[in-house]
């Protein structure tokens, strides 16, 4: 019982850090780069994806014995599209300004590889509760990744965070950071940082055998 509980917990935290969809698996890049112009946009997008991810993984897992293997991808996509349509209308009702800012990218959650990947790799093989937990972990990891990107871009490119000005009047915004190229640069920098962390951890665990392996 204890080990089972531990395993479920492990599956939950896996998506947040060890298998973070943005920084480690580099999945679902399109919405990540497109909506991470500001911290608010990034966070709302992350929450929308989290909701779709948890709901569709739960449903996929409930239906896992009923869906024939041959048409499973089509079934998953239709399930995901249903929840995305719901989210789309919900955001439209809650905040029209946010809806306009996110644009077509809410509907494009459908083709986010993270969701289909989770449905196929995890939810289709596990009972609903672990599947939803795992999906929640992934979704939270995705939201954290989006937020990390959006916050950096907003601070550098506009000098604000959540719309609050951070610097004095002398601050020159680094405009390129909120434009498309900035998305690529900031994500590239984050990936560099994570690969440096990984490298450092490996080096601490096992000191290099040969001189040639020094980095």
């Amino acid at each position: 019982m204890n080990t089972a509980h531990y395993k479920t917990w492990d599956e939950f935290t896996e998506g947040i850090w060890r298998q973070n969809p943005v920084f480690v698996m580099v999945l679902g890049m399109c919405p990540v780069l497109a909506v991470s112009v500001s911290a608010v946009n990034a966070l709302s997008m992350g929450l929308a994806t989290l909701f779709v991810l948890v709901c569709s993984c739960g449903l996929v897992s409930l239906l896992r014995r009923m869906v024939p293997k041959e048409v499973r991808i089509a079934v998953y996509i239709v399930i995901i599209a249903t929840f995305v349509t719901a989210v789309d209308y919900a955001i439209q009702a809650i905040s029209l300004a946010l809806y306009d800012a996110l644009g077509a990218f809410i509907q494009l959650i459908v083709v986010n590889c993270i969701i289909l990947g989770r449905a196929e790799a995890h939810a289709s093989k596990n009972p609903p509760l672990p599947a939803m937990l795992n999906a929640a972990g992934m979704g939270i990891g995705f939201a954290i990744g989006l937020f990390a990107l959006g916050a950096v871009r907003e601070v550098l490119g506009a000098g604000t965070l959540f719309g609050i000005t951070l610097f004095g009047a002398g601050f020159q915004p680094w405009v390129i950071m909120v434009l498309p190229p900035g998305g690529f640069f900031v994500l590239g920098a984050w990936l560099l940082f994570f690969s440096w962390l990984e490298r450092r951890k490996l080096r601490r665990a096992a000191p290099p055998m040969e001189a040639g392996q020094h980095v």
């Binding site: 644009g103 509907q107 590889c113």
Partner: protein, 192 residues
């Protein structure tokens, strides 16, 4: 309509390039751009799927609007795209098995390529008529191919140069894409 077909084409091809300015279709852009030999056919296949999807989406949207079923739009678009990808897959398998194997997993993944769904969604959102939709999808596809080919050429050269170990892989590709995107910003305003 305010935009001419030519403007739409240039806009989709350069000024608002799907990959480098609108961030659509990044997975194949980062995944298949290792070699020029596969990048170009991949671009052409995606363009074809885009064209078919755009045509079907245009017809379907008329139908859905006529019956007031707009809330089914997303679901029906996805189904249409999945079927056109299946079509392309069958054609390729029959006429060019070598290419079919080279593209591998990325071929069925065109279904989840946001550029394809993006074409369908954007043309609906912007109320394009038939001619505009067709030019938009061809321009977008050509832009996607252009970005893919540029990226593949740069990465082919890059394999010969000495890069720090740390930056190897996706991080380097992203930095490259950023530089490409920076240069594409020079086209801004070209489509009017």
């Amino acid at each position: 309509m305010s935009e001419s077909a030519f403007q739409i084409f240039v806009n989709a091809l350069l000024a608002n390039n799907f990959v480098l300015a609108m961030f659509l279709g990044l997975c194949p852009f980062l995944g298949v751009s290792g070699k020029l030999d596969t990048a170009f056919p991949m671009g052409v296949a995606t363009t074809f799927v885009m064209l078919v999807a755009s045509l079907c989406a245009y017809g379907l949207n008329l139908l859905l609007t006529a019956f007031h079923l707009e809330f089914l739009r997303l679901i029906s678009y996805i189904v249409i795209i999945a079927s056109s990808v299946q079509l392309v897959e069958m054609v390729l398998k029959k006429y060019s098995p070598a290419l079919f194997r080279a593209l591998g997993i990325y071929l069925p993944l065109i279904t989840t390529n946001c550029a394809v769904l993006g074409v369908a969604l954007f043309q609906t959102a912007r109320d394009y008529d038939f001619i505009q939709s067709v030019t938009f999808s061809i321009g977008g596809g050509a832009g996607f191919t252009l970005a893919l080919v540029l990226m593949a050429s740069v990465r082919e050269r890059l394999t010969l140069s000495n890069v720090p170990d740390l930056a190897q892989g996706t991080a380097l590709s992203l930095m490259l894409a950023g530089i490409l995107s920076l240069s594409f910003m020079g086209f801004a305003g070209l489509g009017g």
